[in-house]
């Protein structure tokens, strides 16, 4: 067994799990901006539940990507280049989503806000779907040649697994966000979120479980089959606890669900990091795709200190902002009297209309 590459395979699986767990709910909250919130005050409640933390959550994606580059350059190169167009879609989605969070409240105009709301909702959807599709494909295989390059056209990667993985992450993000809102918001939003969660969680867990089972059939081991069963039980527990009116425990049950699902999927795929559907001899594995032990050792030392520190201060952030957010906390949206009125921006409304056009 290759010790350091195996450690880094586990580390990358942990980073992806952290990403799905954390950004999962803020991607879901983004989608719920259009699917769940009924008015602008509710949308602002949703935004403010994730406001202080979404950017930190997104860094888990960057770290997972960077760690893959550093620890398994061949995996990174093959996966990212083979999935060129879907990852472009993810990038566009993440760009719009990030900018929308920041700019949505900057102009007091209905059109402006509605436009950015769509950017948040669609950006969250495509980011979740694309990441899910990419992860599903790296665990089920891509048409790679001996050099690790994609054989076939720009859409040669497309198959049912990609759709399944995309759906799995989207559905998980949606219910995870509902559980998060039940925990983080107050008033009508809180209770409606929990009720909606109970209604949808049995269905929403299915694609993730299906993906996990599919990977088990491809390359499962007894212990990874067991993890799939754990994931199933965790989803059932989340549903049962929420239907009893609990708020914190269903969220933790979902955490177990995503951790067990990810562990069952990555564990079953091990030691292959990216299978080739053309020829098993072209598979990228922890052994043939990894960096040198020197590089991995260096990164292990840094990560051993760095990652716990990250978890500690991110946890502190959640503690600082532990207060529930409700409609009552949301101040009226206020335009401001500009210090300087001018032809370009004649008053607050003129500015809003002018900038609103730019946002379209």
């Amino acid at each position: 067994m290759e010790l350091l590459p195996t450690i880094w395979f586990i580390a990358i699986a942990v980073l992806w799990t952290g990403y799905l767990f954390l950004e999962g709910f803020d991607l879901g909250v983004g989608m719920l901006m259009k699917l769940f919130a009924r008015n602008d005050a509710e949308r602002r409640v949703l935004l403010n539940t994730i406001g202080p933390v979404w950017d930190g959550n997104e860094v888990w994606l960057l770290t997972a990507g960077g760690a893959t580059f550093a620890a398994f350059p061949l995996w990174y190169a093959s996966l990212f280049s083979a999935l060129y167009l879907p990852l472009l879609l993810v990038l566009v989605a993440l760009i719009f989503r990030a900018v929308a969070f920041e700019y949505r409240g900057k102009v007091d105009s209905e059109r402006w806000r509605t436009g950015w709301d769509w950017a948040i909702a669609l950006g969250s959807f495509f980011a979740a779907f694309g990441v899910g599709a990419a992860l599903a494909l790296t665990t089920t295989g891509l048409p790679l040649d001996a050099n690790g390059d994609r054989d076939g056209g720009p859409f040669a990667w497309f198959n049912g697994y990609a759709v399944l993985g995309g759906l799995a992450v989207v559905a998980f993000a949606l219910v995870h966000a509902l559980a998060f809102l039940a925990l983080k918001s107050d008033g009508e939003v809180r209770h409606r979120a929990r009720r909606t969660f109970v209604r949808w969680v049995p269905l929403a867990a299915l694609p993730m479980l299906a993906w996990s089972v599919a990977v088990q059939f491809l390359s499962g081991k007894p212990w990874t089959w067991a993890l799939t069963a754990v994931a199933l039980c965790a989803a059932a527990a989340a549903w049962w606890l929420a239907s009893k009116g609990r708020e914190g425990r269903p969220f933790m049950a979902l955490a177990l669900f995503i951790a067990a699902s990810a562990a069952s999927i990555f564990g079953a795929a091990y030691p292959v990091v990216l299978p080739s559907t053309l020829n098993p001899a072209f598979d990228l594995t922890v052994a043939n795709a990894s960096s040198s032990d020197y590089t991995l050792g260096l990164m292990s030392i840094v990560a051993a200190f760095g990652l716990p520190l990250v978890i500690a201060y991110q946890a502190w952030t959640y503690w600082v902002f532990r207060r529930r957010v409700s409609v009552n906390h949301i101040p009226a949206a206020h335009g401001f009297l500009p210090a300087i009125a001018s032809k370009v921006l004649a008053g607050a409304d003129g500015g809003a209309a002018g900038a609103g056009k730019a946002g379209r």
């Binding site: 935004l47 403010n48 406001g51 202080p52 933390v53 950017d55 930190g56 997104e58 960057l62 770290t63 990507g65 960077g66 760690a67 580059f69 398994f72 350059p73 990174y76 190169a77 093959s78 990212f80 280049s81 999935l83 060129y84 167009l85 472009l88 990038l91 566009v92 760009i95 990030a98 900018v99 920041e102 900057k106 102009v107 690790g148 390059d149 994609r150 720009p154 960096s291 040198s292 020197y294 590089t295 260096l298 990164m299 840094v302 201060y313 991110q314 952030t317 600082v320 902002f321 949301i330 101040p331 206020h334 401001f336 009297l337 500009p338 210090a339 300087i340 001018s342 921006l345 900038a355």
Partner: protein, 532 residues
């Protein structure tokens, strides 16, 4: 155009664009942290106002840096998979460490700063901003370590045709990085300095124009007050202090970039002599620095270029620190490069259609020559303007001339231009290599990679064109949105970032015309107003 050319355009456009947002983030973040520290220490209200106002503009810009930064990490793998495979062992580590040790810190602590005005104690709140700013400095360090390895590979051995890291200390203390990091950080400060100077000048000018401030007989400014929220006497202090801080920061920046740039230039003459010869459009060996060269500089045919004005000795000083050493020109360097690294690209399928083609060792001299001069020129102009601005405003007033105000506002662009020109120069000057050979290296100066071999073999030109068009289009639209928002909030003045100033005024009105049960007063949760 083939995939390589398109991929290079894409990398250039997305990177230069990203690096519009980054220096403003780094520089302005540092300035806001200093201002908030002044507020923490002195409790003066104008420092709080400055923190909020500049902090707001900082955040409008910061998010664009975040959004465009993700593209940077992804596109190495997407468009440059052969590059990623070749260098991953050594190049991936600084990128991973940047995410782990810098991005997490930046994003998490900035979130705490944005939303934590009420939840955190004042000192802790200030510390969060400082931690985020230090995170951004670390981020600059890690990414420049990665870039410097491409300029000057160190700390590796070739094993099975790939460079493998054997000495992390050498990689992370690469002398190229140690001078490029401060050079970049001083460059970022210059952007922030001009930003403060231009915007503060505009507001001071506007206050005089609107008749709020007047100038006494002795030429000293007499601050006034208008019945508009936020345009009181304290508002004057906000802008005059911002102007002075901006001007000082701009001058420190120029001194710093000049000093570190000189060190960097001396290194570059050793490490990439061809880049520096091309920066001079210097064909023949000599000692003179070209002030103006004419001829077909872009033609890469050296014999066309004639130096019209040349200052003897200066080039030697830039390269070696004396006035007499002959610096090699393109005509002497070319045969050296051809001898060391070959005259034609290898006949390897990796190079696609370009396999076996002749290697063009001379960078596009039009770009290197003018890029080098624009970098220095824009930086110098900005610093000189800052010095003039300090002198002109010594009595606290800006002149009433509209054209001067416009010049100050458009002057904001100069350091952006200097930053972009510098990067375009150093990256295009490295061509045809994506990893430039290290001439000092003992026995392993074969660690290099031609850009022609770096692009993803499995990705079609059509895919890269798609991404180039999509990303450039989105970036263009978002630039318009960002600039319009910045303009809106600049014109809004301090009250745009501190609604409590405006609502303090309206709440007073409300006492007399009580309109009963209002929803939670807009001033009640300013934190949310500051953010979403």
């Amino acid at each position: 155009m083939d995939a390589l050319e398109i991929a290079r355009w894409q990398f250039g456009i997305t990177t230069v664009y990203h690096f519009m947002m980054v220096p403003l983030t780094i520089g302005l973040g540092l300035v806001v942290a200093i201002i908030q520290t002044l507020w923490y220490r002195t409790g003066k209200p104008e420092y709080l106002r400055m923190t909020k106002f500049w902090g707001k503009l900082f955040l409008i810009n910061f998010i664009m840096g975040v959004a465009t930064g993700i593209v940077q990490e992804f596109q190495f793998g997407m468009a440059w998979s052969e590059y990623s495979r070749f260098v991953g062992d050594v190049f991936g580590a600084p990128l991973a460490l940047e995410a782990l040790l810098a991005f997490f810190v930046e994003s998490t602590f900035l979130g705490l700063w944005i939303f934590g005005w009420k939840q955190l104690k004042r000192g802790v709140h200030l510390a969060c901003l400082w931690i985020a700013v230090v995170g951004s400095l670390f981020s600059a360090y890690f990414i420049i370590v990665a870039n410097s390895w491409m300029q000057h590979p160190v700390g590796v051995e070739m094993i099975n045709g790939r460079p493998v890291m054997t000495d992390a200390w050498a990689v992370f203390t690469n002398n190229t990085a140690l001078v490029a990091v401060p050079h970049t950080l001083f460059g970022a400060l210059g952007v922030a300095g001009a930003f403060l100077l231009g915007i503060a000048w505009y507001h001071l000018w506007r206050r005089r124009h609107d008749g709020i401030d007047t100038v006494g007989k002795d030429g000293r400014l007499i601050p006034g007050s208008a019945a508009i929220p936020g345009r009181d006497k304290a508002d004057y202090n906000v802008w005059i202090r911002s102007l002075r801080i901006g001007a000082v920061v701009a001058m420190i920046s120029f001194a710093g970039t000049a000093f570190t740039g000189d060190l960097q230039g001396k290194l570059m003459f050793q490490q990439q002599p061809m880049k520096m010869a091309a920066a001079e459009a210097a064909c023949h060996d000599g000692t003179g620095f070209s002030v103006l060269s004419v001829g077909n500089i872009g033609g890469r045919n050296c014999d066309d270029v004639v130096a019209v004005i040349e200052v003897p000795g200066i080039l030697s000083f830039l390269a070696k620190g004396d006035f007499t050493t002959e610096v090699k020109g393109v005509n002497s360097l070319l045969p050296e490069y051809q001898e060391k690294y070959g005259t034609h690209l290898p006949d390897n399928p990796l190079y696609g259609d370009r396999a076996g083609k002749e290697i063009q060792y001379v960078p596009v001299m039009e770009v290197t020559y003018w890029g080098f001069r624009m970098m220095i020129g824009f930086g110098g102009i900005a610093a000189f303007a800052a010095l003039l601005a300090l002198w002109v405003t010594r009595k606290g007033a800006v002149p009433q001339a509209r054209w001067l105000m416009r010049l100050a506002v458009f002057g904001i662009l100069a350091p952006f231009g200097a930053n972009a020109a510098g990067w375009i120069f150093t990256e295009m000057g490295r061509q045809p290599f994506v990893v430039a050979p290290n001439p000092d290296m003992n026995g392993i100066d074969q660690v290099f990679m031609f850009t022609a071999a770096a692009v993803s073999p499995g990705v079609s030109a059509g895919e890269i064109i798609t991404s180039l068009v999509v990303l450039s289009g989105i970036y263009a639209v978002l630039l318009v949105v960002e600039v319009r928002l910045l303009v809106k909030y600049v014109r809004g003045g301090v009250a745009s970032a501190m609604p409590e100033l405006a609502h303090a005024a309206t709440d007073k009105d409300r006492d007399t015309t009580d309109d009963g049960g209002t929803p939670p007063s807009a001033g009640a949760d300013d934190v949310l107003a500051f953010a979403y």
